[in-house]
Amino acid sequence: MHIPDGIVPPAIAIGGYAITGGMIWYSLRKINQFYNPSEEIPRASLLTAAFFVASLIHIPLPPASIHLVLNGLVGVVLGYFAFPAILIGLFFQAVMFQHGGLSTLGVNAAMMGIPAVLSYHLFQFHQWFPTPQRRPLIIFAFLAGAMALALSALIFTALVITTIPAEMNPQLERQGIYLGLVGYSIQAVIEGVFTMLLVSFLQRVKPELLDIKK
């Protein structure tokens, strides 16, 4: 899922930084409207840690293996804190483990961060239903987790498929990308289930983390 250095042309990398800059400005503006924004930082830090290590955990999915992204979960729990959290997590992933790259940090942040913020809004639809009902909460948690990953995968696919270098065999590369898309669709279900389980757990033990009235 992470786009490494040298895969996309410089124009796309610069565009990614521009979008990320805009999203950071918008997210900080929203965060600033909180009564006490620093109160949310411990939660954001812990979720950033989870996002940071998630890429190191490989789940075997024959014939390949996948690693969790968890951008949907970060979005559901953190809301507008999700975008800065993902940017920081991606920065450390790129610097420490070469997952992604510094030139593509903006592209990767936009690719994973915007779906995370959208998943937060999708998850909020559960409030349309009466609060005692647990089923809408779980269903929207699954949808938010799965949608964030699926949307990120679609953005990734669109970016890499439209920027295949001329010296490469485009047919062979496209074949690999489409095959990867099948893997991402399965991963979307896994991330949806993971988000659903965690939201269900948080709702029972600490519902204030989800801004839910018990």
Partner: protein, 152 residues
């Protein structure tokens, strides 16, 4: 009998004549080849990934193109007259990396030996780095939560 003298002459010259049937000939010569091994960070080989090699004198036009084997390997023999950094780019399904391989004559290549150079971290190193990173995030969380602890 008159034509028997021709037989030893023909036998002597026979190996020099190209043979088109039955036997095969495999020639070999020793060269200083560069072999790369491409794999994902979990150690899984990048099979059938596209490889593009760029010579030091022309980093924009590919010098050689190819595909990795099932175990993610690809070998090529660089032109020994072109000393410098040979860039090798490997890509598959939007994932990939590039590496610069220095070519500085036969003596340098012999010293490199069979050891793989480059590559990533070991599992233990990764665990340690991840633990340090996570501790940094936890430390940040504890720092900003200190007022909450004092209040309770």
């Amino acid at each position: 009998m008159r034509c028997l003298w021709f037989l030893p002459v023909a036998i002597v010259f026979l190996p020099a004549v190209p043979v088109f049937a039955h036997s095969t000939v495999i020639e070999h010569r020793q060269t200083n080849a560069i072999e790369i091994r491409a794999m994902y960070d979990n150690g899984e080989p990048m099979t059938e990934a596209q490889v593009t090699v760029y010579a030091p004198d022309n980093p924009s036009d590919p010098w050689l193109k190819g595909i990795t084997t099932e175990d993610g390997r690809f070998a090529f023999v660089p032109n020994p007259d072109m000393e410098g950094e040979w860039d090798v780019k490997v890509r598959k399904a939007g994932h990939g990396d590039f590496i610069s391989v220095p070519v500085e004559g036969s003596q340098q290549a012999a010293q490199s030996g069979k050891n793989w150079q480059g590559g990533g971290y070991t599992t233990l190193q990764k665990i340690l780095m991840a633990a340090l990173g996570v501790w940094g995030f936890i430390g940040t969380a504890l720092f900003f939560a200190r007022n909450r602890f004092h209040q309770t």
